[in-house]
Structure formats: structure tokens, C-alpha cells
Symmetry: C2
Subunit: 407 residues, 2 copies
DNA sequence: AGACTTTTTCCAAGCCTCGGAAAAAATGGT
DNA sequence: ACCATTTTTTCCGAGGCTTGGAAAAAGTCT
């Protein structure tokens, strides 16, 4: 009946180890003293914990040359040991799977992209494809082969809230596809499946300029999606992958959306919607509008084509209204924007801010920072990797360090 | 730089004491053994902590008559000691201030309501008024007078996120009114000022049927407001009091709202909006529509008056679209509804669910539970009291128990 | 080479919780 | 009535982690 569980010395140990690992993620290289200052632990405790993590193989002492010329005994530099683990961030998108392998220190080791027509394929095919991609990525490495320790699959579309697979994806005709369990058996590592957009805030998990900050990531491309970082945690819905920003209703009874409803934000701001509006065709195009096509359309708008301009303006307006609604509900948030929409930000920003101004109380948030990250793939890989490493840190803090206890 | 702070034995003690208090809040009366089972603590620890809290005066051993006829040594019944503290939940509404005093066990001791024209008054007047109300409430008690230990002020309108006062309220013409500091000096107790709607989920904090559940409270009355309970915490915005559900835009360029924007949910679903729509008058009525007037309007709709019916239907539709937007963003949530709208739920429910169906992906959430709580004041008092008691528990867990250490 | 400084390591002490044993307080047979 | 049983509390030693201070280590500065 109680909601608050007890705590004990074990929890203290786990928590403090995690604090040390967290600090290392942020600064990459420190000393025991610096760890003590950053975490609030005594130097004795900091030293003891560092020592245990060192013996456990999670950390390594490194030689640093840029030792500032200060008096006194120089601190021994500590860093995460890349060899402690290996993680993969995989991505399923329309007509393409891709992935990146990184070491425990977060350094990318290999990256790969593979165009495949996966639309009509079933779960077994997808799982095999991902497993093959992962093993090819591993094979590419010079170092001796070793198994992965954690795998994250980012998917366009809706995923189960228990991270086990795909409810529905625009990349796949089949529905309800189990991924985590079969793939984890093939790869010998735990697998988590998440929506790409809601995962994206993880990319900023250890970045100093985003620490403690609430913000949203906004993907505007073929679809429109959002990720939220609230109270220092990446928001995950209970029911599904959540924050379906693209399907927040913009205009009751408005334009037809892919989802079957009328008036969704996506029905104005998705690539297909902008295309539909600019070309004057009423139907949803059967195939994905390519990035190049969207670039041409944006160039036409920049050159003054009135239909194209109007289409981008309507898109920005819908996004702005959507953001205004989010801001009214949650709070004004800084926005990290990516996707093809980020490349057309010059055409969208004015109407986005205008939409916020019209829809939020007192126009609050219409001047919110808008940070553009053009490389969506890199963002998703960063996010998946961070998520995987955070999961490993938690696991290692719990039990990993003393396993190899043998000074 | 680090985000994760260290933990130590102190934290363990605080956390576990809080766990014991939390359990007592839920079940009202237990035994040391039951505490151990509920929290996961060993019986030794449970006994030790209970003993400390007992000596600290937070708990008391009580004689119970309903002892079930079981073998073995009967457990000594423990309960929160009402005399350990006294809290007040005060409320500022249009033309009225009210309040309730409760003891540490959460039992209401006195309640009071006072109609006052506060519209044009300044901060000093409001603070004095609240202080007077609090002392009158205290005077009403038979027991010897004693100071309050914690005061919560619930306000219609927007409050500062640091809980210090009122940014803006429909009850007051003045803006930016400091309440917490001056009132805490007058009353000798810490004061927190919060928005009434966002506070409401606190009323369910210790209720078994809501434990661990995410849900929303929805107030539909002169204004329209929402409270959110997400991940076991009552949502509080960083920027202001947050979840301005009534001002989430419903229809771009739509009906004029009190806030100056066009198309807010409130501009369709607020009392004044329903009235405006039913009577065919275009303006926002200058004065608050009374509850009786709304009842008459509802009765007219029930009797078949088409304009009234249409007005309620439009209101329900706007609420439904708003909920659909929230559900699309967060997740479908059970709704606890209160305010004059709760009394007209028979006129609203169909169109609310219709609105959700039209605006949420796959209509998800259109069948969400809709729980009606007609007594809004009781809900606000319950919420304020729970908030105050939770704050005290935290404080007592940290330091209170051993202060009176003298068996 | 010796004085200083700063970082690490080492060790006894202090707090918690835990597990088991002993004590306490009833019930149920005989 | 009395003793065995059962169940709840209390008591006590042990174990784990952090702490603070002292000692050791490893460099700079003069």
C-alpha cells in the first residue's frame, strides 16, 4: 500500500556510484578530488568509490600532458574506460535502417546506413535485419570482436511503453511487432525499443548547457514529433511512446491527416502536407516526399513562389499554434528543432512565432530559443547511445564494480 | 556540474521515516509489524523508527476495540498524533475568502467562508484579510490556542512558481501581489501560494484508489482549469502555476476570451461563454455568472431549450478537443471533474467524449473514466491540507523527531 | 636538498539497517 | 487454572557506507 519504499546502505552505495559515473559522463576526465567536489562526497568516499570502479574496470587512470603547472601532488586523471562495454544505437526509418556502435566512454566506433525496402516485411525479417546490421557494424571494428552490452532501437512511429516493440510505424505495414526479446536473444544483450522523437532529449543528457533545463525537441519532416525533457527526466508516456505532437489537433474539421483525423498539426506541417498545399493537390501523396524534393520546394519559396511560401507559412502557423498549446499547458520551453523543417527554418520561424503569439496566453513563449540541429541521424544516434549508457551505468552502479574484485 | 548529489546515512534515515509517515497517512492506523510489511523495512527498523516518531510526538499509541480475535500478542495500534501540528488551507476566489484548519492527522477542525468584495483591494488588505480569517478559525476551536505550522493559500488565477504570491487573479484587479512572506510573518508559519486547479490532484495524494495513478483534475466553472498528476507527482510549472487548460487554443481565430486571445477553450466552456452563447449576446458579461444562473440555464437545456442545449454542446466539444489534445500529448488520463460544469455533466459528457474522439489519434481516451466531484471547495481544502501535511512530514522526517528526544 | 602544497590513502568512529534471540502479551486446550 | 502456542516487540551484535583527521605520496619553488 505504501508508495515510498525503504532505503538502506546498499541504496546509498548504488546512488553514490551513480553520482560518480554521472560526473564522469559530464566532464570526461577528472580526479578523485574533483569528483569529491562535484558530488559532495568526502574525498575519502570519492577515493574509495573511484578505486572500486577502477578495479571493476569501469574507469581507467590516464596520463595527461596538459597538467597545469600547479604546486602540490598532481591528481591522477580518471576517465571512463571505453573497453568496459559496447553499445549500439539502431534506427528504423522509412526505407532505411542504420546504426552506430560506441564504447563505454561514448566514443563512436562505427556507423552504418543501409537502404532496404522494409515496408511489407514482418517482424522476423526486421529483427534479422537489425541483427545483421549490428554484427556487420561489429565486424568493421579493428579490435577483437566482442558482444554488445546494450542495444537501443529508435523507431519512427508508436512503440510499446514497455519498450518491447513497435505498435505501428509509417515504415512498416505490419503492426504490433515484437523486437526486444527476439533481438536480445540474437545479440546477447538487452534491447529497448523507443520512439525516435521522444528519445531525442536523451542526446542532451550530459551536456552542461542543458543540465537541469526543461526543453523540447521538435522533429519536422515527413511526420512531426516531439520529445520532452521535464524535471530532469525524458518524458515517457505510460500508454505508448507519447507526445504525439504531430497529431495534436490544430484546426477542428481541418485538413485530412495520415492518421485519419482532420486538422492535426502534421496535416499542415508534415512534408506531405506542405507538398500537398504547395502543389494544390488534395490527396496525401502515396510515397514519402524526398528530402531533395522538399529542398527544391523550399528554394522555390525562397525565390518567391507564392503557393510554396503560403504552404510553408501555413506549416509554421500550425507548428506555432501547437507549441502555443504545449506552452500554455506545460510552460514555455526552449525548442531544439531538427528534420527537414530545420533546414527550412528561415521560411518557418516567423509564422511559428506568430502562431505561438496568437495561441499562448499573453503570447508567452513566442520568443523562446529555437536551436537548430540539422543532422537528425546524429541526434538520434547520440540519444540512443546516451540512453543505453545511462542504463548500463545504472546496472554497473548496482552490481558491476565488485564482480571483478581482485586488486 | 554534477546533477546527482551524494547520499548518506542521514538521507536513509529521512527517507525511511518519510516512508513510515507516508504509510500512516494512507492507512490511518497500523502496527509496527504492518509498517514493516508495507515499507519493506525490517521489523527491527520499523520498530526503532516508530519508537523515535512516538517519542518525537508525531505518533501516538491508541487503544483499539475492534481487535480481531487472533492468537498471539496483539500489535499496539499506532496513529498520527493530531496534536503534533496544525495546518490551514485558505482559498481566495471571486468575492470570497474561505479556509479550513486541520490537525496533523488530517482531521478538519474548523471551516469558514466569508464573502468580501476584494476586487479592488491591494496586497496588504488581502494579507490582513487572510490573517484575520486564520485567527478567527483558530479562535473557534475549543482547545487551547496555538500557532499554525503550515499554511497553504489556493488562488484562482496565476501564481508565482516559487509559491510566493499572485501574478494575476480574476478575483483581484491588482497584479503581482506578494502573499507568502508578509502572511508568514503575521501567522508565524511558512506559507505557500498555489493555483487552486493545479493544486487539486493533491487531494488524492494518499487515496488508495489513486495511488500510482496518473490523472487530471478538471475544473469547469467561471474559468476552466486543470491539475495534472504525472509519475506520482503533482505537476508544477517552472514559469508559473501551469496547466492553463482553459487557455489552450481550441479554434484559431475563434471566440473572444477574457484573456484577450481568440478561441481559447474557456471562450467556449467557461460559465460566461456558455451564457454568452445561450443568450446570443456577443459580449463577455461584466460580472461573474452566479452558480444559480448556470443551474437555471442547465435546467433550460434539460427542458429542451435549443440555444441552451447548443451552448452546452459547444462547451463540451471545446473541452473534449482540449482533452484530446492533452491526451495526444501526454497520454489518456482519467478525469476528475468539478465546478459548475460537473453539475451539468449530463449535458456535457456526450459532446466531451465526441470532442475527444474527433481530436485524439484513433479517438484514444474517449472512453476515459470521468469522475464527478461536485463539492469544489471541499476538494480544494482537501488538496491544500494534503499539500501542507506532506510538507510537514518532509520537515519532520528531516529533523523533527529527535528534537523532543526525552522519553 | 629542503620547505611547501596538494592529492591520495588509511583507519577508527558514527549511523543505519538487518537478522536472530529473547521477552511480552494474548489465545486455546486440558 | 495452567501450560503450550502463536504473534508482536524489543534488544543486541554484526555489517556496510560515509566521515574526518592523520599519514603518506608526489610534485613545485627557493
Amino acid at each position: 500500500m505504501s508508495r515510498l519504499a525503504k532505503t538502506d546502505a546498499d541504496m546509498v552505495r548504488v546512488h553514490n556510484r551513480l553520482a560518480v559515473l554521472d560526473h564522469l559522463r559530464r566532464v570526461a576526465v577528472t580526479t578523485r578530488k574533483a569528483v569529491s567536489e562535484a558530488t559532495g562526497l568526502s574525498v575519502s568516499a570519492s577515493s574509495a568509490i573511484s578505486g572500486a570502479l577502477l578495479r571493476g574496470g569501469l574507469l581507467e587512470e590516464i596520463e595527461e600532458d596538459d597538467r597545469s603547472i600547479r604546486r602540490g601532488r598532481p591528481g591522477k586523471s580518471l576517465a571512463l574506460c571505453g573497453r568496459a562495454a559496447r553499445v549500439a544505437a539502431l534506427k528504423i526509418a522509412v526505407g532505411e535502417v542504420s546504426g552506430r556502435i560506441s564504447d563505454y566512454a561514448g566514443r563512436p566506433l562505427a556507423e552504418m546506413r543501409r537502404g532496404v525496402d522494409i515496408s511489407g516485411k514482418d517482424g522476423g525479417f526486421i529483427v534479422d535485419l537489425l541483427a545483421e546490421l549490428a554484427s556487420d557494424l561489429t565486424a568493421e571494428l579493428a579490435e577483437e570482436p566482442r558482444e554488445l552490452d546494450k542495444v537501443v532501437v529508435a523507431v519512427q512511429g508508436k512503440t510499446f511503453s514497455d519498450l518491447s516493440g513497435i505498435v505501428w510505424s509509417p515504415a512498416l505495414k505490419h503492426r504490433h511487432i515484437e523486437i526486444a526479446e527476439p533481438l536480445s536473444i540474437l545479440l546477447g544483450a538487452p534491447v529497448s525499443v523507443l520512439n525516435d522523437c521522444s528519445l531525442m532529449p536523451e542526446a542532451f543528457r550530459w551536456r552542461a548547457d542543458f543540465t537541469g533545463l526543461d526543453f523540447a525537441t521538435l522533429f519536422v519532416g515527413f511526420g512531426v514529433g516531439m520529445g520532452l525533457r521535464l524535471n530532469g527526466a525524458t518524458f515517457q508516456g505510460k500508454h505508448s511512446s507519447a507526445v504525439e505532437f504531430g497529431h495534436i489537433n490544430h484546426m477542428p474539421g481541418g485538413a485530412l491527416c495520415r492518421c485519419g483525423n482532420h486538422g492535426c498539426v502534421e496535416a499542415y506541417a508534415g512534408d506531405y502536407a506542405i507538398w500537398r498545399s504547395a502543389t494544390g493537390k488534395g490527396d496525401i501523396p502515396a510515397h514519402r516526399i524526398g528530402d531533395e524534393a522538399m529542398q527544391r520546394l523550399a528554394d522555390a519559396a525562397r525565390a518567391g513562389d507564392p503557393a510554396a511560401r503560403a504552404a510553408f507559412e501555413a506549416a509554421g502557423n500550425a507548428i506555432g499554434y501547437g507549441l502555443g498549446r504545449v506552452f500554455t499547458m506545460i510552460d514555455p520551453l526552449p525548442i531544439v528543432m531538427t528534420g527537414s523543417g530545420a533546414k527550412a527554418i528561415d521560411l518557418l520561424e516567423t509564422s511559428i512565432r506568430g502562431g505561438i503569439r496568437e495561441s499562448a496566453v499573453d503570447g508567452l513563449g513566442s520568443d523562446t530559443p529555437l536551436i537548430v540541429e540539422e543532422d537528425t541521424d546524429a541526434l538520434v544516434f547520440d540519444a540512443g547511445t546516451a540512453y543505453a549508457l545511462a542504463a548500463l551505468d545504472q546496472e554497473f552502479a548496482r552490481s558491476g564494480a565488485e564482480a571483478t574484485e581482485a586488486a
